[in-house]
């Protein structure tokens, strides 16, 4: 039913005369009742309610233009008005609408067919074929993305009926006109859901289906815009095309009304061509803790001059099984600090989180996550993962929260130039809360700002090994550079172990014993 009222009459007539389709009439009358759009409009009654959806994508390949619909429909339905269609309209108006029928079988001047034959069960069926081949779950919402020509046509038509709309209600403005993509979504969501067989549609869904259209005929309008308003279309590095929505809308506002492209828009000779269907799922986040048992494994791929230095990395060893389980397109890895390539991470491990981009599978049971963890752990003896779980984007920030205040524990194997005796190093055990002034270590200075940072070593203990070696255990504030504390970094960390022991000292091995961050929650084995 079309919830149009008497005062809409002038607008309706003007829009129909200009060549708008019924759904576009609803849009420009600012009708936001979804059901109104789902009704096959009078002019489209040839899509009878009993139309069968059984046809597969292949069978419909040739079914691409308005003309082919004609012989599929029961002719008797053509002239019939939808029951209750003209609830608020006078019989005269309804007749006027019906009278426009033949006119409106032609391609709409504003939506160029998107809300006509590209917005029906057949099209929904095509979309679904593509969705099913890409995805494996249920929740989704459908959106379409429109490009430059649509914004121009939309604007032209708006200028055309602006006066009448303002007469209807002074409050109505351009933004109140229902967007093509909204109307498309309202019509298509139900059809796609039905086609996918009981899938749940919800607007909060993390899964989006993108339907792309092109209309070569109106592409020229973009160039008109670009030549009239060149400063709005400056190429930017990241964008593929200068005709972004923002740029087009800005340019349209700048052009004086009388200089605008045809208003109302010209009647197009062909409708849009559907280009592609894109399925996009919002990122899924996975977190856990990892151990690193190898002294020749970087945390992330190590590239020097574009060349790989080590054959693998912690990140890759974890990501490979996770990506294939979630069938994700990519990932971002982050962790609570990081260890050097030659440092092991023992104990309960280091918290990490991964953002999985456009996953094609997103729901995993606890048992399935456990299984995935097992797969990771069996794939390599260089690392081990625990507490693997799906987390929310918000929860991920907990990992970075207050990172500076957290403590970390280490064990270092220290070499001394001068021979030492057991009691030469026992004083180390008594040192409490030693504040270091650390200049940014030379080894990271190429990528970090130069600064002096104050870091606290809360406690230390030394275990004598031989006359030139001892094990040093430290509990420190996160962010303390342990290697530099031991060898002094050209005297740039003060105090350092060389000063404390009054001899040159060097660090031969380092292990992270614990990273004291209580996230993610531990999962009992």
């Amino acid at each position: 039913m079309l919830p149009l009222k008497e005062k809409d009459k002038p607008i309706v007539q003007k829009l129909l005369a200009a060549g708008c389709c019924a759904r576009c009439v609803l849009r420009f009358c600012c009708v936001s009742v979804h059901a109104a759009y789902r009704q096959p409009p009078q002019v489209r009654l040839h899509y009878s309610p009993g139309f069968k959806l059984g046809a597969s994508g292949e069978n419909n390949k040739s079914h691409d233009a308005a003309g082919s619909d004609a012989h599929e429909e029961p002719p008797s339905k053509r002239a019939k008005l939808e029951p209750g269609a003209s609830g608020d309209m006078s019989g005269e108006d309804a007749a006027a609408v019906a009278g426009q029928r033949d006119e409106e079988l032609r391609v709409c001047v504003v939506c160029v067919g998107v809300l006509q034959e590209l917005c029906d069960a057949t099209q929904a069926s095509k979309v679904c074929v593509r969705v099913c081949s890409q995805m494996c779950w249920g929740l989704f919402s459908a959106v379409d993305e429109l490009t430059c020509p649509f914004w121009i046509l939309q604007h032209s038509c708006w200028l055309h009926v602006k006066k009448e709309l303002r007469e209807k209600s002074a409050k109505l403005d351009k933004d109140d006109v229902v967007q093509v993509k909204e109307a498309f979504k309202w019509v298509m969501q139900g059809l796609v859901a039905k086609e996918l067989g009981g899938s749940t549609l919800c607007s909060q869904s993390k899964f989006e289906v993108g339907v792309e259209f092109s209309h070569p005929e109106t592409d020229a309008d973009c160039h008109f815009l670009a030549s009239t308003c060149p400063d709005c279309f400056k190429p930017t590095k990241n964008k593929q095309s200068v005709f972004t929505r923002m740029a087009v809308v800005k340019a349209l506002e700048k052009i004086p009304e009388d200089r605008h492209s045809p208003c109302p828009p010209r009647r197009p000779s062909s409708s849009c061509v559907p280009l592609d269907v894109q399925c996009l799922h919002a990122s899924v986040f996975v977190a856990g803790r990892y151990n690193k048992f190898c002294r020749s494994l970087p945390q992330t791929p190590w590239l020097i001059d574009g060349e790989r230095r080590m054959e693998s990395s912690v990140e890759e060893l974890i990501a490979a099984p996770v990506l294939s389980s979630f069938r994700a397109a990519g990932f971002n890895f982050s962790s609570s600090g990081r260890e050097d390539v030659d440092v092991r991470t023992l104990g309960n491990g280091r918290p990490f989180a991964m953002e999985l981009l456009n996953p094609h599978r997103s729901s995993f049971s606890t048992a399935q996550m456990k299984q995935l963890q097992e797969t990771i752990n069996k794939s390599s003896d260089k690392i081990r993962v625990r507490d693997l779980q799906i987390v929310s984007r918000e929860a991920m920030s907990r990992m970075k929260e207050g990172e500076e205040e957290k403590t970390k524990s280490y064990t270092a194997l220290v070499w001394t130039l001068k021979p030492i005796r057991r009691d030469d190093i026992s004083f180390i055990d008594d040192i409490q809360d030693l504040t270091l002034d650390q200049k940014t270590p030379l080894r990271v200075l190429h990528r970090r700002a130069l600064a002096v940072r104050h870091r606290v070593i809360h406690s230390m203990s030394a275990r004598f090994l031989d006359s030139h070696h001892f094990y040093l255990s430290l509990k420190t504030q996160a962010g303390t550079y342990i290697k530099e504390f031991v060898h002094g970094d050209f005297g740039r960390t003060k105090p350092n172990m060389c000063e404390l022991l009054k001899t040159d000292t060097d660090i031969l091995e380092l292990d992270v014993e614990s990273v004291d961050v209580d996230w993610p929650p531990s999962i009992p084995e």
């Binding site: 990271v444 200075l445 190429h446 990528r447 700002a449 130069l450 275990r463 050209f490 005297g491 060097d506």
Partner: protein
């Protein structure tokens, strides 16, 4: 559990400098005999300017009287400030840019040069307070300055410098030409 078992400590592990830095040399800087400089280049391209162990300052038990980073009336290396990851604001140095002047108690004065092109990140202020560091640990705590070469010049900046091997050849020639008085 402690164990007294003696590890092979005489076979000393490579030092921090050995492990992460490449040594490059400039012999007879600006034609002045034996004024050798040593540049330690980290694998991350950061360079540390130091005195080579053969530099006259480190010979004959000299004592340092003063170190001056004020290289002209208008320019002091102590005023060098860098900010951010990109190290904005650092003085840009060419090969022959002076870094500091060192005067010994015997009134001999030496100028230490950058030897490489790059942005000055820091100078060693510790040697101002404790000049003996320069004599005792010339290749670590007694360093002169830290320089960051341009990324695209990482390889080319050392083209004018001598490798350790080449420098040792220079030293052996020098020994033949001017036998040191025992």
């Amino acid at each position: 559990m402690d164990c007294e078992e003696q590890k092979d400590t005489e076979a000393k592990a490579p030092s921090v400098v050995d492990r992460y830095y490449t040594r490059w040399y400039r012999a007879d800087m600006k034609g002045k005999p034996c004024e050798d400089h040593c540049i330690l280049q980290h694998s991350n391209r950061i360079c540390v300017v130091t005195l080579a162990e053969t530099h006259p300052i480190l010979q004959n038990d000299r004592t340092i009287k003063s170190i001056n980073y004020q290289i002209s009336n208008g320019c002091s290396r102590l005023n060098n400030k860098v900010s951010g990851k990109s190290k904005r604001g650092g003085q840009f140095l060419t090969d022959f840019a002076p870094l500091c002047r060192i005067t010994c108690t015997d009134e001999t004065e030496y100028t230490i040069y950058s030897c490489i092109r790059g942005r000055l990140l820091e100078v060693n202020e510790c040697i101002l307070e404790t000049p003996s560091l320069l004599l005792e640990k010339p290749s670590t705590e007694g360093y002169i300055a830290v320089i960051l070469p341009k990324f695209e010049e990482t390889k080319s900046i050392t083209e004018n410098l001598l490798s350790r091997e080449e420098f040792e050849k220079v030293l052996s020639k020098r020994a033949v030409a001017q036998p040191q008085p025992s």
